[in-house]
């Protein structure tokens, strides 16, 4: 890594760190905007992007070169395999192998909730998670008694085709083939990270944690069922969130690579719940998780999907400087009023605008957001969701980056 | 980068071996070279280092094959021990078979096989790796083996022989497989580096299939030899049926490397010298022959290592079609074999490793001269030590004497 690349990486890291520490950096830190458009920009299909490691890495490097930011969303492909992460939580060395399903590994595993471009989907579609009910309401007691064992013995065989009979050669072969495939991917990734370092990006990454109720809703019961469970079996649901908390934290530790200080927590059910339900079923174990992650040396970055407005004040129950609140539809200005000096705020760019607006309007739009959000620091500019579709006009993307350059200085 | 000179050298060496296989006279007598534990000793490293550390293994190999050049693609990389019953268990997954079929030191750290011993682990750091065998199957289980050998090897045998897989379907056993995959990926990358280093020295590498005589798989991997010998009398029909059931799996094991470009399959025999001609012809040879014929049918040449004395069964080789492959002899007199097999079978062997250890350079020179005088004419002969492993203590001046004699007397 050249000296100036090293210095650039240090500057970028410092910028993000200052914001998380609620200070004013030299410039507003910007995560960049990416997603499916990265493949389109490189002239490859989403299928190629998801199945061909080399093309994927080349596309990412090309995009990051042309659109530099402080922490590029490098379009981590694939979908989380959270049940597997929990089932194998006693085997930290396996986390990198089993925690994500991308195109080639899904060809080996056959994961029920995964849909990939060029396979089940059109070659230019996005990978999609389509969950179902994998656990019946009668099984809450088993889940509560031993979530790791339950996920391994009961849920994995239902979710992963190759694991439908755990004792069979197919299941054993799948584990070995998975490792061989990940090794192949790893070789391409190492090369990409080397190039990213040369472009001034420090190696890093995020650990991950889930709100216990989201784990149950998204991975096990499916949301409509869980919503009914809240009324029908409130005690069981509550006990289950408490039971899965420890293993979920174990997974976060497994996911914490060297030097990683942040755990990403993508919320899902938050906007489904009334404050009464949120405070009874969702928030207590999420809050405990965030506090425990802090004890484990990790700041949290919570992605509040949808509108979090009804629950915004609960954030103040966390200690000041706990981490970052990343908002989707909640107005970041409104959040700032409440959370300034307590919580770093992330978000601000409506992806819908980037897709459908014009460069001039976007310039104005970014100028306005930065004008309101920058003062006092503690703000990271980011798209409100991670994925720009393939058809996003490149001139709009360019306008966003240029506006950040123009108006982002403190 | 492989230089044009190195490439040319590799082509000459390959052509020399090929001519012998085709029962013709090459330009020189092809020589497989010597190897084994003497390679780490020559490089000044322990056998443990050689068996577990790819970098040291590679350096030692490069030093050896630079100082002692030979014709065949040398056996490089970490040495492995036969584990074919696990190969059979995974025979539907070729990318796994190549890693479980033979188990080396680091792989054994993952799989924890019950019947192998490695230097620096169970053994002294300068000991040789060893397969100690053992009984993994009861006579009452023959029917299961006969009914479905692949299923039987997977479900019944594998949990007994692999500590990592003793509880199939458990997180621990699946984790073992994932770690196996990681280790295999690492070893594949390391092997590619080693082969590249050797190719730069003018060596060539051709993938090769491996399988066993069906009865050897039963005796070495499942029943253990003393038990199998008794089984031949107590349950002759079951043993026969079991050997027959293993023909297809063995052919599959042998031919699965064709896709990767293999043109030859290696079959090391073991029980052959234990059996009377009557037993050999009843229990051993029919299924071995069938395997060889099917491999030949699939377009492969076969190299059979006839361990010990094969004299009593020598004539059965003539039942195979001319040009089927190579008979590699250990104690059987190659001169005697040549008289019988010339024009039909390529003969390999010729020098006793204990001679290399215990004779003088002058005696070795004399012996090789005599051997070549008798064996070279008419072609179809590959010069090789009678077993693969020269021990650490092999005198280097004797090693040198062998290579010099080959150089002196090997020209056609």
């Amino acid at each position: 890594m050249a000296v100036d690349a090293k210095q650039l990486a240090a500057e970028r890291a410092a910028r993000l760190k200052a914001a998380v520490e609620l200070k004013e950096p030299d410039r507003v830190p910007f995560t960049g905007i990416g997603g499916d458009v990265i493949a389109a920009y490189a002239g490859i299909t989403s299928y190629e992007f998801n199945f061909d490691y080399e093309k994927q890495c080349q596309a990412i490097i090309k995009y990051v070169k042309d659109f530099p930011s402080d922490q590029p969303v490098i379009g981590m492909t694939g979908l989380g395999n959270h049940v597997a992460s929990m089932a194998f939580s006693d085997y930290p060395d396996l986390y990198p192998i089993i925690s994500r399903v991308d195109g080639p590994t899904n060809d080996i595993l056959g994961v029920d909730y995964c849909r990939f471009p060029g396979r089940e989907l059109d070659e230019n579609s996005s990978p999609q998670f389509i969950g179902r009910e994998y656990m019946s309401a009668e099984e809450y007691d088993e889940l509560i008694a031993d979530p790791v064992k339950f996920c391994f013995e009961k849920i994995l065989p239902r979710i992963v085709r190759a694991f439908r009979d755990m004792k069979a050669p197919e299941a054993h072969a799948a584990m070995a083939r998975l490792a061989l495939e990940k090794a192949k991917a790893g070789a391409a990734m190492r090369d990409m990270f080397r190039q990213l370092q040369e472009l001034g990006y420090a190696p890093g990454g995020l650990s991950v944690f889930f709100a216990p109720l989201d784990f149950i809703g998204d991975q096990l019961r499916d949301i409509p069922n869980l919503i009914k469970d809240l009324r029908r079996y409130p005690d069981k649901v509550k006990a289950a969130t408490e039971a899965v908390l420890e293993p979920l934290l174990k997974v976060s530790v497994n996911a914490k690579g060297p030097g990683v200080e942040t755990a990403m927590i993508p919320l899902h059910l938050n906007e489904y719940l009334s404050p009464a339900l949120y405070n009874e079923f969702y928030w207590p174990t999420l809050k405990e998780g965030i506090l425990r992650l802090a004890e484990l040396g990790m700041k949290s970055q919570v992605f509040f999907e949808g509108r979090h407005d009804a629950h915004l004040e609960t954030i103040l129950e966390l200690p000041a400087g706990w981490g970052t609140a990343y908002f989707e539809k909640t107005d970041v200005r409104k959040a700032k009023k409440l959370l300034q000096g307590h919580t770093c705020i992330m978000g601000g760019i409506d992806v819908g605008m980037v897709i459908s607006s014009t460069p001039a309007k976007l310039d104005e739009y970014i100028k306005e957001i930065l004008g309101e959000m920058m003062p006092g620091g503690g703000f990271i500019l980011a798209p409100n969701i991670g994925n720009l579709p393939r058809e996003t006009p490149i001139e709009n993307i360019r306008a966003v980056y240029e506006a950040v350059e123009k108006y982002g200085k403190y | 980068m492989v230089s044009p000179e190195a490439k040319k050298l590799a082509e000459e060496r390959a052509a020399r071996m090929q001519a012998a296989l085709d029962l013709k006279e090459p330009d020189r007598v092809p020589f497989t070279g010597l190897g084994g534990d003497v390679i780490p000793a020559y490089a000044g490293i322990t056998s443990y280092e050689y068996e577990f550390d790819f970098e040291k293994n590679r350096q030692a190999a490069v030093k050896w094959f630079t100082d002692f050049p030979s014709d065949s693609a040398p056996r490089v990389g970490l040495g492995g021990l036969d584990n074919q019953s696990m190969g059979v268990a995974f025979q539907d997954y070729p990318e796994i078979v190549s890693g479980v079929n033979s188990v080396n030191g680091p792989m054994n750290d993952v799989l924890k096989m019950k019947f192998v011993r490695f230097p620096g682990r169970e053994l002294d750091e300068n000991s040789a790796r060893q397969f100690i065998g053992g009984k993994n199957m009861e006579p009452e289980e023959y029917d299961q083996l006969i009914a479905d050998p692949v299923k039987f090897c997977f479900e019944v045998i594998m949990p007994r022989i692999s500590g990592g897989l003793k509880d199939l379907g458990s997180p621990a056993s699946l984790a073992t497989m994932a770690r196996f995959g990681l280790e295999k990926a690492r070893q594949d990358a390391e092997m590619a580096k080693t082969m590249q280093a050797l190719m730069e020295l003018g060596y060539y590498f051709a993938p090769r299939g491996v399988c066993l005589a069906p009865l050897d798989l039963i005796s070495d991997q499942l029943r253990d030899i003393p038990n199998l010998i008794l089984d031949l009398r107590r349950y002759p029909d079951k043993v026969k049926a079991a050997a027959e059931a293993l023909v297809e799996p063995m052919v599959k094991m042998g031919t699965m490397s064709i896709k990767a470009g293999a043109k030859e399959c290696f079959i090391p025999l073991h029980l052959n010298e234990y059996l009377s001609p009557k037993q050999y012809n009843e229990f051993y040879w029919p299924t071995l022959k069938e395997v060889i014929l099917k491999l030949v049918e699939a377009g492969m040449k076969v190299q059979v290592f006839f361990e010990g004395w094969h004299d009593a069964h020598l004539e059965t080789i003539l039942e195979l079609p001319a040009g089927w492959g190579t008979a590699y002899f250990e104690k059987t007199d190659v001169r005697k074999a040549k008289k019988l097999l010339q024009g039909h079978t390529c003969i390999m062997g010729g020098i006793d490793v204990s001679d290399i250890i215990s004779l003088t350079p002058a005696q070795l020179d004399e012996n090789i001269k005599k051997l070549f005088d008798e064996m070279a004419p008419g072609g179809g002969f590959i010069f090789s030590p009678n077993i693969g492993t020269c021990p650490r203590e092999t005198p280097i001046e004797n090693v040198r004497a062998v290579y010099e004699a080959v150089e002196k007397y090997g020209k056609y």
Binding site: D36, S274, G352, I355, I385, E391 | -
Partner: protein, 209 residues
């Protein structure tokens, strides 16, 4: 009894609501009363949602209650004239295979009296055209969850235009990632990122409110 049904339904008391409905449906003209009350209740739930008092979980629970009650009520309504506000063709656009949002909206729309023709997920542009020709709806609803759906909606509307059908229908788009800007971009008539708003606007587009 209608009052009690309405109250327990709106209060999310599932057991009580189902119990009363079962009783009411057996009385003279009870099936019609149950249907009307449940529709009214669903409308009230939607209102509470838009007022920020109820959340998605209540919409889902209400939808489930509505379906449960309809299961034993609808068979008793055979032969009765059930008024319809109009017909809507509804589908998740091509490339997107999510259904949860669409399903929440669907039951609420049906409860409001809209005749919904559900043409599924990952619906090709042409299939929308065919469904419009076949069912002659007043309204077309397009859903997407992921951002990829935005362009897919745009293309679907273009194809509908090319088929000469655009002027016969109103189009509402819905889903987590749509907005005013997206609506203008794709050329729809209304947008909603929640089901209650979606139903309210659908009714407006049908000229019923």
């Amino acid at each position: 009894m209608r009052e009690e049904l309405l109250r327990s339904f709106v209060d999310m008391d599932e057991q009580e609501a189902v119990r009363i409905a079962r009783e009411l449906v057996e009385t003279e003209g009870g099936a019609v009363a149950v249907l009307d009350t449940c529709k009214e209740a669903m409308e009230e739930v939607g209102r509470l949602f838009e007022a920020g008092e109820y959340f998605l979980s209540e919409l889902i629970a209400a939808g489930d209650m509505f379906n449960q009650i309809m299961e034993f009520t609808l068979p008793k309504l055979q032969g009765e004239e059930v008024a319809s506000l109009g017909t809507m063709v509804l589908g998740t656009v091509q490339g997107d295979v999510h259904n949860i949002g669409k399903d929440i909206f669907k039951v609420m729309a049906e409860a409001s009296g809209i005749n919904v023709i559900d043409i599924g997920i990952d619906v090709p542009h042409e299939k929308f055209v065919e469904a419009i020709k076949e069912h002659k709806p007043e309204l077309v609803g397009m859903c997407c969850l992921i951002t990829l759906g935005v362009d897919s909606m745009k293309r679907t509307i273009e194809v509908i235009k090319e088929a000469g059908l655009r002027d016969d229908i109103k189009i509402i788009i819905g889903g987590g990632r749509v907005s005013q800007a997206v609506m203008e971009h794709v050329g729809a008539d209304a947008w909603a990122d929640d089901a209650a708003r979606g139903v309210r606007l659908s009714k407006e587009l049908l000229g019923k409110e």
